[in-house]
Symmetry: C2
Subunit: 318 residues, 2 copies
């Protein structure tokens, strides 16, 4: 009997978010050329979904102020959905014009976090999203609704599960059928994740649910396994584990894509993603960003990347 991961034959879908959540807090300006090159390389690595930018106030997030230009210049691969993060109607209009395939609407379950990040009440975010739905009706552009701080808020602490479910229900009621539960500052634990995923999967199919974990307290991949075991199949992750938390200098950011793909390969879950290509890309990030990145597999290599025994090294050096 293997207690964990009963249905490990089912594919796990990774949505790569380094171009958006990974870069948004980087102090170094990443030129548009480099962003486009990063996304184009990701497009050829087997991803089916890439969050390519956000359309928020350039004052709030100057690192991503070139979102429209990025969307205009990337080489779109057939079968890849290019997603844009959206806080409000103005952002939705800009992303729609820029040609995003999907608008990922984001609000926080926490009033305090929503006020800090979106400068409005949760109710006002939801009202704005209801107005966005008609914008994409009858087009090929899809909508996703994110519930940020769904597992905890750095200002308020614990977030009531029923509050998260009420926001999910609101998204569904206004016609947004795909949902992301986001652990914005890495406060989730595996038991909580399993419980909330099971409750949400009573409302929508696994193909419409994404989990967004941060590794802030070292639990990112454990949370993925708990969510997968509970039936979730789609996960956000960032190359190199980019995307640190503003409240935790030096702590890890998003769960690391190559670490997640490595885990999947080791336990036999298919992702369709080219791990050696990812590792090579991750190893170039420090030169791009001017600092080390948290991902482990790019430093350690895969299990199958064996080392010569000491006496073999000695004879090679001799």
């Amino acid at each position: 009997m293997i207690p964990m991961i009963r249905n490990f034959s089912e594919r796990l879908i990774v949505q790569e978010v380094a171009p958006r959540d990974g870069l948004q807090i980087e102090p170094t300006w990443v030129p548009t050329d480099a962003k486009v090159a990063l996304i184009d390389q990701l497009s050829s690595a087997g991803f089916t979904r890439i969050e390519a930018g956000s359309f928020v106030s350039p004052k709030a997030i100057p690192a991503l102020r070139d979102g429209a230009e990025v969307f205009a210049r990337i080489r779109r691969q057939p079968g890849v959905v290019y997603v844009a993060l959206i806080p409000n109607m103005r952002g939705a209009q800009r992303a729609f014009q820029a040609g995003a395939d999907e608008l990922n609407l984001v609000m926080s379950a926490s009033q305090t976090h929503n006020r800090a990040n979106m400068r409005m009440r949760c109710e006002d975010s939801l009202a704005a999203f209801a107005d966005i739905v008609p914008l994409t009706a009858g087009t090929a552009v899809t909508l996703n609704g994110t519930v940020a701080t769904a597992f905890g808020c750095p200002f308020e602490g614990a977030i009531d599960e029923d509050r998260v479910l009420a926001i999910v229900d609101h998204y569904l009621a206004i016609g947004i059928g795909a949902i992301t539960l986001a652990d914005t500052t890495g406060m989730a634990n595996p038991r909580q994740v399993a419980r909330l995923v099971e409750r949400v999967l009573g409302r929508l199919p696994a193909s419409a649910l994404t989990l967004h974990f941060h590794n802030t307290r070292g639990l990112g991949l454990a949370n993925v396994l708990a969510a997968y075991e509970a039936g979730a199949r789609r996960f956000d992750a960032a190359l190199g584990g980019l995307g640190g938390c503003p409240f935790a200098p030096g702590a890890s950011g998003n769960i690391c894509t190559e670490d997640l793909v490595n885990l999947c390969q080791e336990i036999g879950i298919e992702t369709g993603i080219d791990l050696p290509k990812l590792i090579a890309m991750s190893r170039r990030l420090p030169a791009l960003l001017g600092h080390e990145v948290p991902g482990q597999v790019a430093k350690a290599g895969r299990n199958c990347d064996l080392h010569p025994a000491p006496w073999e090294r000695e004879s090679a050096a001799a």
Copy 2:
């Protein structure tokens, strides 16, 4: 239904290994005074087991050459077992004389790794261990047998499970009833861990089995949960996540004690360990060692360490 962690009410025992596995590859000399202070602080933080040093060749591991002096000078707390790591008879005699409560005999499942680290064949390690058993017979000193590279070898790759079980059986046959399965370079995955733990727990009780994981590829805590779910209850961990891998510069070391204790608190598993004290100790490690350490919770704080909202910070600054 909560799919993971069915018996989470059972206590998880953490054996702190920072003084041994954590310090052994540090390039900076940690003075004996500092080692003794570290162990004495750990003794007062709620641990019941501390691996306090090793008795190996001082040429092989100069960082731990003061093992006997460390054992002589620590203030022993009642109820705490102070363990010494031992590769051979010479080490066993020295540790016994130094007053170690437990000798942790170590060999590798991999012939190549055993030859590289112990300079002998696996068979010769096991023969030497059989000679050590009479040394402690009739004394209060206990023996533990470690199987290093039990989940993979950096030189050989995959290690056959039956080979690991045969070594466990050999330990049991020569009268060593407590076993550690060690993932020496972080190659284990949760499915493999669950399977091997279940097989080993067919041979000895959970109270006699320790799991030793490294977080080299980011899977350390996921492996702990898989092992716990499969019935394991004792785990090695190192303060700050010390103990990096010689083959992976910059990669994580042992699983991080405070990250593990934080996980346990969040999901409701008792450890008896004082987390705020651990975090305070971990935050002093960079000054002691001259570099950042991999642990996450010491950087991020606990979930309950809330942050002021931006407008509260502004008014506080005004």
